[in-house]
Amino acid sequence: MIPVRCFTCGAVIGDKYRKFREYVEGGMDPKEALDKIGLERYCCRRMILSHVEIIDKFLIYRRLGTGGRD
């Protein structure tokens, strides 16, 4: 999951990753996409740019002792 806040400055970035992905998957240049979602500082930009979303890969498993279907 994308972190809720930027590690360095504390600005909220957790609501921007999805939009960023949509833009980039639509063929937009990552630089433009970052500008468009309104991240100015490079601390926040690297949060989004360097993020690797892996939670969907784990979603097929479930934690021991918890609910949910196999």
């Binding site: 999951m1 809720v4 806040r5 504390g10 957790g14 609501d15 979603l59 918890t66 609910g67 949910g68």
Partner: protein, 283 residues
Amino acid sequence: MTKKSTSKKSTRSFKIEFIEESDNRIMVLLRNIPVTMANSIRRVIISHVPTLAIERVFIFRNDSLMNDDMLAHRLGLIPLTTPLGKYALPEEAPDEEGSKPEYAELTLTIEAKDKPITVLSSDIKSKDPDVKPVSGDIEIVRLAPGQGIEAEMWAYMGRGKDHAKWSPVSVSVVRGLPVIRIKKTGCNKKCKKCVEACPKGVLAVKKGQLIVKDLYKCTTCGLCMEACPDIIKVSIDETSSILYLESIGQLRPIEILSLAFDEVIKKLDDFYSSLNEVSLENV
């Protein structure tokens, strides 16, 4: 008092000028205030202006891949709109009759039915309409079909010095006011070396005149001075400071600023009264 003396006094006294203001940011010019004092305001903004944040989380069900602690941590980082004066500050006695409530209650109950979902901050329900996540799109966790989360959250007032989640700003900077002096004679206004040297686009040639277009963008890096040392001199006005802050959204920038002044005054009062106690003891 003569007119002259009043005008002289007003140039010396403390003054605030607004340079830039929008929903989430503010830039002000503090005139005639020592840098140390401006800096104490900057620090108080970061670590002493109180806001609401989720501090206690009761998890009744969590089937997600995320551990309870991790989930609670993420919930805590979600900024909440803060109604000023409605909830008790950490130092206020909570159990007095008719006192302000100590915390705001929020709940999160969600289950993924037949396809995976992303839990968003807009799924959090608040009992108080004044307290809600600043942004509804913050991703909290992903849930596979059949997984669910049930949690109750208590949001307390707190300060950035205890945890950064209570800090109302992402950026809070103080810097000196740049002074760019351009000699009237000697500049040919054509070579534009200085204009090209400036990385911030502060200088411009307009109507055959070299002008300072946007003084507040200047970082006093001195590159223009290097390009043309005979004509341009860049220095810092030590008596004025530029304070720039960017709100995360719990409070409006102007509220943050005025609360910061209140907090500084409160601290000075505390200091003064404890000083009095000490000096009385020593008599």
